[in-house]
Amino acid sequence: MSLRVSDLKVHYRTLRGDVRALDGVSFELGDAEILGLAGESGCGKTTLGKSLIRMDGRMRHVGGTVELDGTELPIGDDRRMNDFRFHEVSLVPQYSMSALNPTRKIGKMVGELLRSRGVTPDTAKLLGRLDAVGLPHEVLDRYPIELSGGMKQRMVMVISTLLDPSLLIADEVTSALDVSTQKAVARALAGFRDNGFVKSMIFITHDISLTYQIADTIMVMYAGRLAEKAPARTIVEAPRHPYTRMLIDSLPEVGVRHADRRLSGIAGSPPSLLDPPAGCRFRDRCPLAFDRCAEEPPAAEIAPDHFVACWKA
């Protein structure tokens, strides 16, 4: 077992009260596993990713634990987490492409970054990683502005995995890319796992069709909680949570035409996490809701490796 997250609760402090962005999430991630994390915007995907590596000033670790390779991560302690960041857990953040320092040549920037972490740059390894993602060595002599979006994204991926972290978290890294670039970048990420540059990975995206392409397991979140988690094929072919089913039914696959088959979305929107309703959080949008849904459904393992938080599953 690579990662074990138990009843994790992380809230944002705001003037109006606590936003309960992660409200009791538990899951495990095996060695060499790619976990796809999906769900509508605002369901807590980014919050989960950040909680495992660096909480921002407004985030508060309210409860629960995170264990990586048998060691508990001090996620609430920014300073102690320094020992793990980059070395054990690394993040390719959303919008990371614009995070590259525009005034430094890329090679120089990588060197500075590594030294600031107390690591001596290993040029041979860096060049090998560039080869692995299909970047020419000359990129090191270029400024970020001279790279295309897909190249920048690959560069950030290379930098964040140079120390072979155990866990890599990739947050919407392909969302701003065109389809062909998206495919290349997603495949390069899967290659990081295949080549053992990272042990396991959490691949965050709102696009289930994309997750399905590279993830072994898909976890669907809803309003700060786990809705369903299962092997990728099971999520796509035999989803059991009404939310997962409706999400998948709202996807226009190539080949589905409005004239032939009318798809529909999910009416309504997720509840506010400032003061979320008791019971199942999907209740007011769920066509199957019944009395019992006023109680919170636990994430039950209805088949091996298939977890569903729904009374009807």
Binding site: E40, P252, V256, L263
Partner: protein, 312 residues
């Protein structure tokens, strides 16, 4: 109604003193007929928004012509009575200090100054119901109190208040969640039933495929393939179209199964140039039109080509 683009070209001046030029759109011709959704597909930088802006009269055409029912684009009040645009980021269209329904008030002031308050209110409510919004949940709210999907619908409702003939929708669903964007797409499909033409600009092939009767695939400012959507996506001929399609992530079909596309089916390297008719309502670009498509297709019928494709 018919929008017609004839050999439209846009050259931007770029560089510090406008000393260099960039050809963003190069000799593009297609029609958007009444009651149809035409999707304009292409990767970023292919010139989609530039085409949309030229149709909306927001940037001038460098060469070629754009006509609506035979009359050239003449930006101004009359033109915008018939042609409206909705764009990617709904939040940027609204001024956050005003309530969202102010966009309706501006239409009233410009186009319907004689309407009484009660009459106008009823029209706005009807337009909101047409886009599947509950008027009471929208009227009086500030933009930040509404979701992206709701704001996009407000903007479509605003367009519907006018005597609209053509709606240019530029990436209007790309900031929406899967769970809500499909409803906006269904809405576009519905409003074409009013006899409107819709130009649906997107980089997302599956959305264009779902919605549009006709598809135009743009690459580096030129059309590489266009025609009936079921032909362009069901039987894509140009290597670029095939490559795009094979990269689309699909449920139930892992990428591994997709056929790799390296170059033109017939020649090494890509194929661009004029358009040849590859079958009924199906046009494809090829660099060696005469020598290639003519010879390979056996004149204008796609039949022999289909046989060849199967044979591969």
């Amino acid at each position: 109604m018919m929008l017609r683009l004839d050999n439209v070209t846009k050259v931007y001046k770029v560089g510090a003193f406008g000393g260099k030029t960039l050809t963003a759109v190069d000799g593009v011709s297609f029609d958007v007929p009444e009651g149809q959704v035409v999707s304009l597909i292409g990767e970023s930088g292919s010139g989609k928004s530039t085409l949309g802006k030229m149709i909306l009269g927001l940037v001038p055409v460098t060469a070629g012509s754009i006509t609506l029912d035979g009359a050239p684009v003449r930006p101004g009040k009359e033109y915008y009575r018939h042609v409206q645009g909705v764009f990617q980021d709904p939040f940027s269209t609204f001024n956050p200090v005003f309530k969202a329904d102010r966009v309706f008030q501006l239409i009233r002031e410009a186009y319907f100054p004689a309407a009484t308050a009660a009459d106008w209110d009823e029209r706005v409510r009807a337009a909101l119901r047409d886009v599947r919004l509950d008027p009471d949940q929208v009227i009086g709210k500030y933009p930040h109190q509404l979701s992206g999907g709701q704001l996009q619908r407000v903007l479509i409702a605003r367009a519907l208040l006018l005597d609209l003939k053509l709606l240019v929708a530029d990436e209007i669903t790309s900031m929406l969640d899967a769970s809500t964007r499909i409803d906006v797409l269904n809405l576009l499909a519905e409003i074409k039933g009013r006899g409107l033409g819709v130009l649906y600009i997107t980089h997302d092939l599956s959305l264009g495929n779902y919605l549009a009767e006709r598809t135009v695939v743009l690459r580096h400012g030129t059309v590489v393939e266009m025609g009936a959507t079921d032909r362009v996506f069901g039987r894509p001929l140009h290597p670029y179209t095939r490559q795009l399609l094979s990269a689309v992530p699909r449920l139930h079909a892992p990428w591994e199964d997709a056929e790799p596309v390296t170059s033109c089916l017939y020649h090494d390297g890509g194929a661009t140039g004029g358009l040849a008719e590859a079958g009924e309502d199906h046009f494809v670009a090829c660099a060696r039109l005469e020598g290639c498509l003519e010879e390979r297709l056996g004149g204008r019928s796609g039949g022999r080509l289909e046989g060849r494709l199967k044979g591969r």
